[in-house]
Symmetry: C2
């Protein structure tokens, strides 16, 4: 068992340490094979191996703790195994072939820790949360930002999209974003949409006297993303959205490396294809760390409440990790999203505090008086929550909040919350 | 249930059709939510919905068949939902948020079909299998290509790497590749490695009179990948490797779109993070189709035998799909890899036929007489398999094959096959 050394103590400045959950009929053999396959080994003795390679670059499993039907293992990888600033490369080591080995039945990457020096080889966010707050003028009054997704997800033309965005901003929303499946389809070509929405942004800013932000979804092949990002910049935009998993880290790092001077909003569609099953895949926590290393300024992390998966402990842990101090990488602004409505705001503020973006799509556009009223209702919910006033009390003097579709609302416009149209 | 219509017949030229496996306490409700979330819907009635959007762009679940603990569903998506030539965008629709919805317990994308016109909006492989065979001079003698991965996976310096590559080529190997976790670490910087290995390739070509190929692993952020690809080209290389999942489709399409005139070898580290669990995630078949659309010329598909997961039916199905006719997209050269040795060649040829690349790392460098003998043994195994001669018989007159480490070999140098060093 050349790759298992339970007496080994990892070096804080010398080792990347991963935590993995493993199921296998033979856990110790699996531990050996995992550490071999993800560092310098293969399945057989080879003539080309060098003694110095085994000594300097072999990964070591240094902890195996039985848990559930398997074991949680800790693996130390010499940091020399990794290329500075290359996110795909770290994945190919710590989250690569090992998932497909016959010797393991299930394997889940739960977390990783990296030496500060290696962490600093990544650019990290250009703006981070404080940079976004500076743009938006909320550095002092540190309330949660509120955002909306233009809905329906796809199908509106550029003019209709701009109208929805304008209504949301005029009603009090800070941040408007495209949905993840809207890029540049024939019904809503990118250039025309962006031009019109950014005009609407300027109008809303001049009317409200407040700074607004629009995340234009540029997700595509890298050269197309760059062209789109430059178009956004040329039209006065301050933010772009990259769907970081469907696009991938090569494209995300490329966009960050351009230093475009625009906030990068990270959507995470498809993450749950490998994060959902608790016994296999890659948890959201390591993905979120990689996204911070690559350089997203805002990142969807789940919401605990709402329509998307993710328990309180897990999602709060992700928030604290990407929003906390880390080797000089700027803190990421966490985005809570997915089936949220004004009624969820007090819970969100209680769970996460004020340093989050609260995003509601249906919860804004589903307001009986339309998008603008829905936006105002969401803002009112934030005002109430930040001041510690119960929503039902605040709703008595705030019409939009009172009419907002929710269990607590007086209106009760909706018999159930899953009806689509 | 606005998004479920069991009488709907999908249009071959108008719909993208996905096949998904779903587990949920309420399958019909889940079906509705999946089709809504992946097309135009959200969790509530919204003021901004347009009748034409629902009519023209809503996805429809048109088949629900109970299977295992859940159901296999078929979903039709109007092709207008998709942007031409954008792989990340199709994923954001058919494989995006739906994995994370609370309303489903498990969800697996099993397959998808797309209209030919939409398929043609993707570049597909620049060379494809026939292009690779043309470069290598095997268009007529259509034996399997044989490849090796330089081993140890990482740790050799550029000179040592070039020596291993040279030995492999001199022994009869067609194709040498970097391993997935080798990019440009301090012990083996990319530029020096590539320069030396390409020198070795030239030497081997001139000595053997045969064309050779080297897949230089360029995986990194897109602009770094392009710089590396151009370096390979400038030094006479004919192939680059992209780790397509860790890099992602945005970067892969970017590299393909450059028309570099070099074969793109697609490694798939990390695919099993979402393909392994049979009840959740994304199966390899749809990933392989996306890789073909994006434009890989060669793609790892598994091997049935060997150290990596993947049953016969599944892997053979992937091979036939990416190697068969499809809307003018060139056929991909399937690569079988992972714990293979000469002893596996007859099985591989029996299962897949001759139109594959058989790759062995440990199975070549593990030969008792070293890499060159291991390469020759692998070539001998292919010669025997193609001619239908049993290996043990062929081994009697072929020294290298006879000494190759394997169950059938006379030597039996290895007591077991999982020992690493």
């Amino acid at each position: 068992m050349d790759f298992v050394d339970l007496r080994y103590k990892p070096e804080k400045n010398g080792d990347v340490v991963t935590t993995v959950y493993v199921e296998s009929k033979d856990l110790k053999k699996a531990a050996n094979e995992i550490a071999a396959e993800s560092s310098v080994g293969t399945w057989t003795k080879i003539s080309t191996m060098k003694e110095r390679v085994m000594r300097n670059l072999a990964a070591r499993v240094f902890s195996i703790r039985k848990e559930g039907g398997g074991a949680v293992m800790k693996i130390a990888y010499p940091v020399e195994l990794f290329e500075d600033g290359n996110v795909p490369q770290i994945l190919s080591d710590i989250a690569g072939n090992i998932f497909g080995m016959k010797g393991v039945d299930n394997l889940r990457l739960l977390d990783f820790e990296i030496p500060d020096k290696y962490a600093r080889s990544f650019k990290g966010p250009e703006f981070g949360m404080e940079g976004v707050r500076r743009i938006m003028g909320t550095s002092k009054n540190r309330r949660p930002h509120i955002g909306t997704i233009v809905k329906p997800k796809v199908g509106l033309n550029p003019k209709e999209t701009a109208k929805v965005a304008y209504d949301a901003w005029a009603g009090g929303i800070d941040f408007v974003k495209d949905d993840e499946n809207l890029t540049s389809q024939t019904f809503c070509k990118f250039e025309e949409r962006i031009a019109r929405v950014l005009e609407a942004k300027e109008k809303a800013e001049s009317e409200t006297g407040k700074k607004k932000m629009y995340a234009a979804n540029i997700t595509a092949s890298s050269e197309v993303m760059l062209g789109r990002a430059e178009f956004v910049k040329a039209h006065g935009g301050n933010c772009i959205m990259v769907d970081i998993i469907t696009a991938g880290f090569s494209g995300l790092q490329f966009i960050r490396n351009q230093k475009l001077g625009m906030v990068i909003h990270g959507h995470r569609a498809m993450y749950a294809a490998f994060a959902r099953n608790k016994r296999h895949g890659i948890a959201m926590l390591p993905l979120a760390k990689l996204a911070r290393m690559a350089g997203v300024d805002q990142l969807h992390i789940g919401a605990v409440v709402g329509k998307m998966e993710g328990g309180r402990g897990e999602v709060l842990g992700i928030h604290k990790t990407i929003n906390g101090k880390w080797a000089g990488l700027k803190p990421v602004f966490s985005v809570c999203s997915g089936g949220l409505a004004p009624e969820n705001v007090p819970d969100l503020v209680r769970i996460f505090g004020n340093d989050i973006v609260i995003q509601a799509g249906g919860g804004v556009h589903g307001h009986p008086n339309g998008t603008r009223a829905g936006a105002t209702a969401l803002l009112q919910a934030v005002e109430a929550a930040v001041r510690g006033i119960p929503l039902d009390k605040y709703a008595k003097t705030h019409e939009e909040l009172r009419l907002s579709p929710a269990k607590w609302s007086l209106g009760k416009q909706y018999s159930h919350r899953t009806k689509i149209v």
